[in-house]
Amino acid sequence: MKRTLLAALLVLSIGTPAQAHFQMLYTPQMAMEKGGTLDLKLVFTHPFEAGHTMNMGAPQEFFMVHKGEKTDLKDTLKKITWTSLTNSGDAYEAKVKARSMGDYVLCLVPEPYFEANEDGYIQQITKVILNNGGMPTDWDAPVGLPAEIEPLDKPYALWTGNVFRGVVLSEGKPVPGAEIEVEFLNHPPVPGKNEFQKAALATAPQDAFVTLTIKADADGEFVFGIPKAGWWGFAALGVGPLKTYKGKDNSQDAVIWVQAVDMQ
């Protein structure tokens, strides 16, 4: 709520719509027909508006879990410049081989980002689960991140109109009443380029629709009905144990992305 209030104050002061920070870990398709080389983009931005893209520092951790085995991917990272609709910022990309069938749980622990407007840091620990060939292997097992969303539905196998359910975890334990921001990737990346597409897929009638805020129940579980095909991000705010960083407040958030597709 604190972050929402600060964002609202920022809106009043400079007149831009309220929008949430989201760490993206993007590849065009979460559910792959065939394996190959994943083309991953790591961008810290505001996905509904494709607005201000923040400069990412060198990630603290970047790895994947496949069939229970953890592989460090930090060496695959390459710094790039990402162009949003309003600016450019430091981001990363990676190419990762994923030929074997099963789930690929990609995890990113970024360097905390100093948000001057909030006089504090934001660290969004991000998980994206891809699948090759339809064989489920790892999607429902928590990785053990300090802040994590455990999916109760496969994030890569959702029809438009399905619900996505998850449990917010802090050091492996559910977080009752956790506040979760939900945002639609309204300007998907342009294939082959490090930029968002200019055309929006949806229009929000009012600011409360740009960043949707929901709450987990007493067991840390949340449910969200998915109204439109595409990528949806979920960020459970400040649930991680690292509350301060370099002498300032740190919001250690748990992020997960899901992708819904239309029935055709």
Partner: protein, 105 residues
Amino acid sequence: MRLFIATLALAGVLGAASAAMAHTPLFSCFDNGDSTISCEGGFSDGSSAAGVAVHLLGADGKVLAEHKLNDYSEVTIKKPDGAYSVQFDAGEGHRIKIAGSDIVE
């Protein structure tokens, strides 16, 4: 009706697309670039395909070699000369054939 659905599932699988039905067999192969291919089998409920037979078939459909998936549900096979296909054979209604021309690096 069940046979009809199973037939449809098999038809979908043979059509080189995945078939999203309960307990669907899954099979995937890629070319290692060293005259061998690696194949992997499984089921949509996550169960293992260890021990399932994998047949290497010639252009005429005749069996050239028989293999079994290992404990990791994988097998590596030497490519034959000429056209070929590979069949995952977990029994009636649970067979998947992949043409060699669809197996790429």
